[in-house]
Point group: C2
Chain length 253, copies 2
């Protein structure tokens, strides 16, 4: 299959079926990429829309032939319950979790969480999620919930409609990747909001025994993220990277 070149356009350039090109875009397509009249490319408007486009006889103009389906979202929703790390760590978590395809982020007040965020913090995290969603060409902006105490989070996001995992460094738990490879195939699951994967990562110092016990009682499967000690800001990204890759892998059972 020939890989079509992609071109970022402004929405205002498009008046279907006409697509006007800026001099720079024209130069890029015809001089840099050496496309000519009748050659095709993909026009992306930065708002999640892609079009198949074709250069006209006058190559400073193009026509859009059809809108293309863009699938950047994961096949089922992933909800991240994340015990808030100290400092500004949540900024990085929200930004990178959004890049990695998360559907919702729930800041968790755990026994070892020091941070009690202000409403301004929550606004800030929502802005970061929106910006990151735009930059990474997401089609949806992840929902950022109010901080939840652990017991309330477990009551709301539990195992009945979701595969729920608790990441825990201590204890000889199975690696998350192995557990994911034995879970039901996404195609056999009902779709969001009826189904989701819920993944919980702990604070500096880890979950307390009581928190782990409560999660197991709520149907969470404890899993390991590997043999190394990860910081509270790194663990959610590792977990989401493994979930996304596993969901998008055709090797899944």
């Amino acid at each position: 299959m020939v890989q079509l070149q992609r071109l970022a356009i402004a929405p205002s350039q498009l008046l279907p079926p006409h697509l006007s090109l800026t001099p720079e875009q024209h130069h890029y397509l015809c001089r840099v990429l050496r496309l000519g009249a009748g050659d095709r490319f993909i026009a992306m408007d930065g708002q999640g829309h892609w079009w198949l486009a074709e250069l006209g006889a006058d190559t400073s103009q193009a026509q859009v032939l059809e809108q293309l389906p863009v699938q950047h979202e994961l096949p089922i929703a992933v909800v991240l319950l994340v015990a808030m790390p100290k400092g500004n760590g949540m900024d990085d978590i929200v930004r990178q979790a959004t890049e990695l395809g998360v559907a919702a982020i729930v800041p968790i007040l755990s026994d070892r969480t020091l941070l009690q965020p202000s409403p301004q913090k929550l606004d800030r995290w929502r802005r970061i999620a929106q910006e990151a969603a735009e930059q990474s060409e997401r089609q949806m902006i992840p929902e950022l919930f109010e901080p939840h105490p652990w017991s309330q989070a477990l009551a709301r996001w539990h195992q009945s409609n979701a595969d729920a995992y608790l990441c825990e460094a201590r204890g000889n738990y199975l690696p998350l990747l192995e557990v994911l490879q034995f879970r039901r195939h996404p195609a056999q699951l009902p779709t969001w909001p009826d189904s989701a994967i819920v993944i919980a990562t702990g604070p500096e110092g880890g979950w307390t025994e009581a928190e782990i016990g409560a999660a197991i009682a709520a149907g969470y499967t404890p899993v390991s993220l590997g043999r190394r000690v990860l910081r509270a800001v790194t663990a959610p990204l590792v977990a989401l990277a493994l979930i996304a890759a596993s969901l998008e892998s055709s090797c899944a059972p």
Copy 2:
């Protein structure tokens, strides 16, 4: 297999075979964990050493029976070639790549790299790698190489003794996780430094066509990190998380 409880100790508490316990540790072991005389636990000194220990008849004292092998390192070495992102992005990459078990980091000067780091920067990255290795209980500190132009890096780290992968967002390449699952089993490979996995991640804007072509000519397999657009600081972490999980997964072929 019974999972032994772990206890963090200060190196000064240990005078083999004697291990003195603080009142808090004694309380934790005997009251919280309900261990008694003759029960065993793992003592960790926070410097990468683990001992099998046994509570004495006087449970405020313990004896160490033997030093335990700690295996936090990946079974084969992973070398990260990383096109330097703008700003202070390399700080985060070095810190998190170290947490994720990388053996060596090679900053790459690519066609689209804006950063030409000073020698002070390299010193700074080496300090970050050392600190992160200590915090994440690594047994080795990742080697931080001088920045290499892409062609020189390809001449030095190529496919002959390593599985080499190039992460590239454009192009319909197979997902890294799938490719890893079909590679040779680690046990069939010679050990470091004779063998390694080399993974290369690109700059903001991606690799140029010429850079991709040179990598393929050097034996690199182009791979995808998923359907979302990742920033240059996030891509290396996703790649390393997938490699580490794949190497430590007993599902590997």
